[in-house]
Symmetry: C2
Subunit: 556 residues, 2 copies
C-alpha cells in the first residue's frame, strides 16, 4: 500500500535565469554542428554597432549552391510551383526545400537571435514523409502549400514544443495541440520549420525577453527589429523563411515588416484564424481584436496566403472567423486606380527617408496613371487615445501576474511602454469605450466613402526602424481600432540623400522630439523604408488586389 504525503510549504519558483539558460541551451543544441558559424566569424559579422548581416547566409559557406538557389531565387509562389513540379520535372523535393530553409534559419538565428523554437528535425521528417507519399502516389493532387516551410510567431502552438511567448512562466510547458491557423496550414500541406521571437508580454515593438534575449535587426544592429512579430520580421528579411505568420493588435505584423524590410499583411479581424494561441492577456478580453497574418518576401505571397485561408472555410478552424468568401475578384478594368494619399498623420512629420520614399512612391504611381487624391486623417490624436485606452483595459494585470509568478523582471521596452500602470476599466468604462470606438469608426467610414478610393497609402509610422528600445509610436494602431486591413510594401533603404533637416518638424514639441531621433543616413544606414496600403474593413481581398497592383508599380 502507498502512503499519502502532504506538502505544506509553497516552494519558491525556480530562478528564472536557470529556466532561461536551459531554454537557450536547448535551442542552441538543436542547430546541427555543420550549420554553426564559427565563433570568430560570428564576432566579425556582428562587430560593427550598425552591422548589416543580411549577406551572412550567402557568405558564411554553410549553404550549398542548391540551398542558396532555393532560398534566394524564389518567393513562396515560385517555390510552390517548383515543389509541385518535383525533381523529375526540374523542380524540388520538399526535403530539399525544407532543409535549405532550416539551414538558412539556423544561420539567421545565429546572427539575429530571431528563433524561439527550432523544429528542424520534425520539419525534415514531415518533408520526407510528404516526398514519400508523393512518390507512392505520383498522380495524386497536391494541396496548395504542399511541402513549403512556413515559420510561425511563437504564440502559435505546435504540439511538443513551448509557446512560451517569451515569458518564463510559460517556458518548458510544451503545447499539446495546434492553434487553429497552423492546423489549417497543415491541412494545406505546409511544413513548420521554426517559431520566432517576440517581446516579453508581446506588447512592445522590441522583441526582447528574459527567455530568449533580443532579436537584432539584420539591416542594422543598432536599430530595433520591431515587434511583436520581430523574430518573424528578421527571419523573413534573412530569407530564413519566405512565408511566415505573425499577429497584429497595434502594428505587430507591420512594424517588423517595416523595420526589417519585408512584406506584411494585417488582415481585418476574424478573417484569418486566430484561435488557440498562447495569450499574455485575460482570456475573453474585449475591445480591439488581434489578428493573424503573413509576412513574406513578396506581396503576391501575402495575397496568396490570404486567398488560401479565405478559401478554406476558416470558421471550421476558428469559429470566430467571418463567413466572408474569397470571391475571385479581378483588378479594376477599364479605369485607373484611385488612391487616397495620407501625406502625414497630422501629428508627426515624416523623417527624411520616409518622406522621400512616399514622394517617390507618389511619383511612380502618378507616372503609371494612378489617380492620387489627398486624404487628411480627422483628428488622429483622439482616435489613438481611444486605441490606447483599450490596451490598458486590464492594466496588464494578467501579463504582470505571469511575470510575478515566475519572479522575472520586466524588460526595458515593457517598462517604457507605459501599459503596466493604471487601474483598468470597469464594465461601464468598456460600454463607454465601445461607444467611443463606434464614433471613430463612423467618422472613418464617412471619410472612406467620401474619398471614393480603391485604397489609401501612407507611411506606417513617420520614421524608419528606430534605435533599440526607443519605439513609442502608436499611430499605426488606428487601423486596428477601426479594423481596416493594411499592408507593408518595402520601398528601399535609407540613402545618402536622406540628410537631416534641422527645421523639418512642424507639429510641435512631441513631433520635434521624435523627428530629431533621426540623426542621418550614417546612423540609420540599411534601415528599410516602406509604404503602408490600407483597405476598407473586411475587404481584404480587394486590398490584396490593389496592393499587388501598387507593388508592381513600386517594385517592378
Amino acid at each position: 500500500m502507498s502512503t499519502s504525503t502532504t506538502t505544506t510549504a509553497t516552494s519558491a519558483p525556480e530562478p528564472w535565469q536557470n529556466i532561461a539558460q536551459r531554454k537557450q541551451a536547448q535551442r542552441a543544441s538543436l542547430i546541427p554542428e555543420a550549420w554553426r558559424i564559427p565563433e570568430a566569424k560570428l564576432r566579425e559579422y556582428t562587430a560593427s554597432p550598425t552591422a548589416n548581416v543580411l549577406h551572412v547566409p550567402s557568405d558564411c559557406g554553410i549553404l550549398s549552391s542548391l540551398d542558396r538557389q532555393i532560398t534566394e531565387s524564389y518567393d513562396a509562389i515560385d517555390l510552390l510551383a517548383l515543389l509541385a513540379k518535383g525533381p523529375d520535372a526540374g523542380g524540388f523535393t520538399s526535403v530539399e526545400v525544407v532543409t535549405a530553409f532550416c539551414k538558412r534559419a539556423a544561420i539567421a538565428q545565429q546572427v539575429t537571435n530571431c528563433v524561439t523554437e527550432i523544429l528542424f528535425e520534425s520539419a525534415i521528417a514531415r518533408a520526407e514523409e510528404l516526398d514519400r507519399q508523393r512518390a507512392a502516389n505520383p498522380s495524386a493532387a497536391l494541396p496548395p502549400l504542399w511541402g513549403l516551410p512556413i515559420s510561425l510567431k511563437d504564440c502559435f502552438k505546435v504540439p511538443g514544443v513551448d509557446a512560451s511567448i517569451a515569458m518564463i512562466h510559460f517556458a518548458e510547458k510544451p503545447s499539446t495541440e495546434y492553434s487553429a491557423l497552423p492546423q489549417l496550414l497543415l491541412s494545406l500541406g505546409a511544413v513548420f520549420h521554426c517559431k520566432t521571437n517576440v517581446p516579453q508580454t508581446m506588447m512592445t515593438a522590441d522583441s526582447d525577453s528574459n527567455v530568449f534575449g533580443r532579436t537584432m535587426n539584420p539591416n542594422n544592429r543598432a536599430l530595433t527589429a520591431g515587434g511583436s512579430s520581430g523574430g518573424e520580421g528578421a527571419l523573413v528579411a534573412m530569407r530564413g523563411s519566405i512565408l511566415g505568420v505573425g499577429s497584429d493588435i497595434a502594428g505587430s505584423i507591420r512594424i517588423p515588416s517595416h523595420c526589417n524590410g519585408t512584406y506584411g499583411f494585417k488582415p481585418s479581424a476574424n478573417i484569418v484564424p486566430y484561435a488557440g494561441q498562447a495569450n499574455p492577456a485575460a482570456d475573453g478580453l474585449a475591445g480591439i481584436l488581434p489578428v493573424a497574418g503573413p509576412l513574406a518576401t513578396s506581396f503576391r505571397s501575402c495575397r496568396y496566403f490570404m486567398q488560401l485561408v479565405m478559401s478554406s472555410q476558416p470558421w471550421k478552424y476558428d469559429m470566430d472567423c467571418l463567413h466572408i468568401p474569397w470571391l475571385g475578384l479581378k483588378p479594376p478594368a477599364g479605369r485607373n486606380l484611385r488612391i487616397g494619399v495620407i501625406n502625414d498623420d497630422g501629428l508627426f512629420t515624416p523623417t527624411p527617408p520616409q518622406k522621400r520614399t512616399l514622394e517617390e512612391a507618389k511619383a511612380k504611381l502618378k507616372a503609371a496613371g494612378v489617380e492620387l487624391v489627398d486624404v487628411q486623417l480627422p483628428n488622429l490624436m483622439e482616435d489613438v487615445a481611444v486605441a490606447w485606452a483599450c490596451f490598458g483595459m486590464e492594466a496588464s494585470r494578467t501579463a504582470l501576474g505571469y511575470l510575478a509568478a515566475a519572479g522575472e523582471p520586466k524588460i526595458k521596452s515593457v517598462e517604457n511602454i507605459g501599459l503596466t500602470g493604471g487601474t483598468g476599466m470597469t464594465i461601464e468604462d468598456l460600454f463607454a469605450w465601445n461607444v467611443a470606438r463606434s464614433k471613430v469608426e463612423a467618422k472613418h467610414r464617412d471619410l472612406w466613402v467620401s474619398s471614393n478610393v480603391d485604397a489609401y497609402i501612407n507611411l506606417l509610422v513617420p520614421h524608419t526602424a528606430p534605435r533599440i528600445d526607443t519605439w513609442t509610436t502608436v499611430v499605426q494602431a488606428l487601423w486596428n481600432l477601426i479594423d481596416y486591413p493594411s499592408c507593408i510594401i518595402p520601398t528601399g533603404k535609407v540613402s545618402e540623400v536622406d540628410v537631416v533637416d534641422p527645421n523639418g518638424a512642424k507639429f510641435g514639441d512631441a513631433d520635434r522630439a521624435l523627428y530629431e531621433q533621426y540623426t542621418g543616413p550614417e546612423d540609420f544606414k540599411g534601415a528599410p523604408t516602406s509604404i503602408q496600403v490600407i483597405g476598407l474593413r473586411q475587404e481584404d481581398e480587394n486590398l490584396s488586389i490593389v496592393a499587388e497592383m501598387i507593388d508592381k508599380i513600386l517594385n517592378p
Copy 2:
C-alpha cells in the same frame, strides 16, 4: 443685460398617466373618422375572451373592394411588381397601395392595439410624391421597394415622431433622424405607414406598456401576441402590413411571428443595419448582439428583404454591418436537401399541436425527397444559462432607471421575467462570459459540421402562443447566443385533433408545468403553429434559399 436665475427645486415628473393619456389620445386622433369601427361593432368583434379578429378588416365595411384586393391578394413581391407596372399597365399607384394599407392598419389597430405611431398622413404624402415623380419621368428606373408601405417596430427612429419604445421616459420626444435601416429602406423607395408596439423595456414576450397598452393576438385574444416585436406580428397577421421590420435578441422577431402566424427572419448579427435605434439598455453594451429583420406574409418576401439589404452595401448605413455580399446563390442542384431535425430540445416536450405540426412537416419533407437526419442539441440547459447570464449583464439598470425617472410602474411581464434583480457583471465576469460563449459556439460549430446539413428544423418553442403574461421560455435564445440565422414558417393552427395528453411531458417537473399550460384545442383555438428553420452563422443567404424550398413544400 439679462439676469441669471437659479432653480434649486427639482420638479417631480409629470404623472405618467397624463403622458400615456395624451399619447393614446393623439394616436386615436390620427385615425380618420371614416376608418373608425363603430363602438358597438368593436364590442361585438372582441366580446369573446378567445375572439379571433382576423376577419374584421374584410367584414367591417371600411375597406373598398380595391383596398381588399390590394391588402389580401398579394405578398410584398407581387405588390412590388404591380407597383412597378403602374395603373396604366394593370398595376397600382403607390397612393392606392399605401392608402389601402393605412386603412387596414387603422382597422388592425382598433382590434389589436398593435400600432404606436401613426404615419398615415406622411405616408400618403410620400406616395403622392412618388407617383408624381413617376408621372413626370415615366421611363426612369424605379428602386426595388418603390412605393411599398413598410411598418417599423417602434424602436426604429423616424423624424418627427417618438421612438418611445413604450416607456414614458421617451414619450413626447420626437426623433430628429432616421435609424440606419429605415434610411436604407427609404433609399430603396419604401414608404413607412406606422410604427408598432413593444413591451415596456422590450425585454418580454408580452407587448404591453403603460404608454400604449397591450397588443392583442388577432388569432385568439386570450393568448399573447408575443414580443418584443408583438405589434409587428399582430399587424402583419392582420395584413395591415405585408412587410414589417422587427428586432430580435432572444426571439423578438420569431416569437411574434410564431404567436401570430406570420413569417419572420432573424438574421445573423450585423447583416442587417441595426444602428441608431432607441435603446432601453446601456449604449455600448457587450454580449449577444440584437439584430433587425423582417416579418412578412410570405417567406419569399423575407428572402427578398434580405437580398435587397445585403446587396445595398449596408455598412454605408451601419458601419457594424459585415462586408458579406449577396452572392446570388442558387438552390442546391442535382441532390436532395439534407435537413437536421431537432425533434425536441431535451428540456421541454412539444405540446400536442406543436408536436403534430413538426411530424406533419417531416412527413411532407420526406415525401418531397428531403433527407432528414436527427440532431440532438448538446446540453441546451447550460447554453441557455449562458444566454440568460448575458441578459443580466447590467441587471437592467438602464431600463429601470428610465422607469424610475418617469415614475411609472413595471408591467406584469417585466415583473415576471426576472431580469431586473441581480447585480450585473464586472468586466472580469464579462471576459469569463466571452470564454463561456466561445465554448458553446465551438460545440455547435462541431455539431453543424458533423451533421453535414443544409439547415436544421425544429420548433421555436415547445408550445403555441401561451396565455397573456405567462411566457417564460428562453430556449429560442440559443440561436442568438451562437448567432445562427433562423426563421419562422407558419404551418397552420391548433386543430381539434390536438387533444391533451395527460402523460405527455417526459423531462420532469419544469417540463410538466409548461406542458400542462396547454389545456386543449378549445382554449387555444386559432393559435398558429410553426416550424423554425435554422442556418449556419452568417450564411443568411443560404438559409433564405433553403427555407424558401422548405416553405414551398410545407405551404405549396
